[in-house]
């Protein structure tokens, strides 16, 4: 028997997640004075929000730096990852030589390279962008290869029987069928690129949100540290939403109509 949901239930459902978040924030707000914690140990959400307003120019200028590093790293990962995947898919020797290595390298935590990258590339943009690139590159390659392989052989035969060239096969069927998987890779990659850039800043930097956090730590400014965390999270959410926006426009999912 199908369950009937009351009007109140249906009206309240979309509010459940924001409501829970609000509840947690309120609990945090109340708990801090209740346990007698000082701002330097744990600031309240209200204090963090206040700081975000008062130090907004500082957070914004460092946020731009981090945002730029993430975007540059992600763009490089797409520019490098998609062609790599195409080469793996279309060239047997390349696949044999490169794909096993790529899969093996994927298990290496790229983060541990950060100090070395600073050693070789200095304190500027380069090591952060490179780390963001490196960490975002692998999921893009692998999800693109997997996507290109999803097409059933029968589909290829169908378009070949219509006289399709290799290029037409790619643009008309292979790429569209690969897009859901490719975008899955992009979504993982954009989240990882944020991590890469911030870690790069932790190791050595003169600007950026990671750098701002280290500065705040040195000054025991926990509130500014939290404000930076919020800022990094906002960048993550913003970029992820941007990828989803393009996904919605470009990708029709098989499940969507069910």
């Amino acid at each position: 028997m199908p369950k009937r949901r009351s009007f109140a239930q249906r009206a309240l459902e979309p509010l459940a997640a924001p409501g829970l978040a609000l509840l947690v924030l309120c609990a945090w707000q109340v708990a801090v004075p209740f346990f007698g914690l000082s701002e330097f140990v744990l600031p309240t959400p209200w204090q963090i929000a206040g700081r975000m307003v008062s130090d907004f120019p500082l957070l914004l200028s460092n946020g731009y730096v981090t945002l730029f590093e993430v975007l540059a790293g992600f763009a490089c990962a797409i520019a490098g990852g998609v062609p790599t995947a195409l080469a793996i898919f279309y060239s047997r020797p390349f696949e044999r030589a490169v794909y096993p290595l790529l899969i093996a390298l994927q298990t290496v935590p790229k983060i541990v390279l950060a100090p070395l990258l600073v050693l070789y590339m200095g304190y500027g943009w380069a090591p952060k962008i490179f780390l963001a690139f490196l960490i975002a590159y692998f999921p893009i390659v692998i999800s693109t290869v997997v996507g290109l392989q999803t097409l059933e052989p029968g589909m290829v035969n169908l378009v070949r029987s219509m006289g399709a060239s290799e290029a037409q096969t790619f643009w008309k069927i292979r790429l569209p069928a690969a897009l859901p998987s490719i975008f899955g890779g992009f979504k993982v990659a954009i989240a990882l690129a944020v991590i890469g850039a911030v870690i790069g800043e932790y190791v050595a930097a003169e600007r950026g949100l990671g750098y701002l956090q280290l500065q705040a730590n040195a000054k025991f400014d926990t509130t500014l540290n939290f404000a930076s965390v919020v800022m990094v999270s906002l960048i993550g959410v913003l970029l992820y939403s941007a990828v989803m926006f393009f996904e919605r426009r470009l990708v029709y999912r098989r499940e969507a109509a069910h």
Binding site: V159, S161, G163, A177, R254, A257
Partner: protein, 267 residues
């Protein structure tokens, strides 16, 4: 036969065609053994045979998708070297592109052949209407039933105005009622168009119902065991066909062959 036919049918001539596949172990597997078959322009030929006897192999060769190991295939006299522009194929699975609307799926071959799309959109709607899908052109394939999807796949083959229509068990995945309807639709279409059709099936009754000639193949390596002309006037009616003496005689002949070859148990 007094049927008026537009001159669009292509003639097919298959001479001594064999096909050997290489197995994973590196051995040769003979799928087809020296097939000779001539299909006249505008003829409807059905091929029946047990699973694995090389029916799909034969069709793939006619579609220009795989090459014969030996022998030649000619279409209207010209040796076949790749997909023929006048051939249209319908497979058992519809292979509709799920990200395209019904209309855009039907227009796919036109796009691939780089013909002007505008000129064919109206024709596509017309074909869809003929198979009972008027008003469905903007729907996505996932909104259709299996039978509707296969109808779209047939429209997609027909929009190319194929002089040779190749069908590989096109109704094999459908339920009995839908199958019956599509068989009738196919007959109507063919009577109107008059193209050459090679129809592969393992349904003896649908083969006899549809075809001018039924080719019975032996288990692997596939050979032609019987080439049976079906002289039943058209249009044939599915409801009456099982009472038709010529139909019953033909069905008995095909069954006898299968029983002799151990494909069907004799009882």
């Amino acid at each position: 036969m007094s049927r008026a036919r537009a001159p669009i049918g292509l003639g097919v001539r298959i001479d001594g065609v064999s096909k050997a596949y290489e197995t994973r172990e590196g051995e040769d597997l003979l799928a087809l053994d020296r097939i000779d078959l001539e299909i006249r322009a505008g003829e409807f030929v059905a091929v029946v045979g047990p699973s694995g006897c090389g029916k799909s192999t034969l069709l793939s060769m006619l579609a220009g998708l795989i090459r014969a190991t030996s022998g030649t295939i000619r279409i209207d006299g010209a040796p076949l070297t790749g997909p023929h522009p006048g051939a249209g194929v319908v497979f058992q699975s519809d292979h509709l592109l799920y990200w395209r609307t019904v209309l855009d799926n039907v227009l796919l071959p036109i796009e691939i052949k780089r013909r002007p799309l505008a000129g064919y959109a109206a024709r596509a709607e017309e074909l869809l209407a003929q198979v009972g899908l008027a008003g469905f052109s903007a729907k996505m394939p996932s909104e259709l039933s299996g039978g509707m999807r296969q109808r779209v796949a047939i429209c997609r083959a027909l929009i190319q105005e194929p002089g040779l229509l190749l069908m590989d068990e096109p109704f094999g995945a459908l339920d009995a009622l839908t199958r019956e309807q599509l068989i009738m639709d196919l007959q109507t279409m063919w009577l109107a168009v008059g193209n050459t059709v090679l129809f592969i099936t393992h349904g003896i009754d649908e083969a006899i119902f549809l075809a001018d000639r039924v080719i019975v193949m032996s288990p692997r390596p596939g050979r032609i065991d019987l080439d049976l002309a079906i002289d039943i006037p058209r249009p044939r009616r599915w409801k009456e066909i099982h009472e038709n003496a010529a139909f019953l005689a033909a069905a008995r002949k095909v069954r006898e062959i299968f029983e002799a070859k151990g494909v069907l148990a004799a009882d």
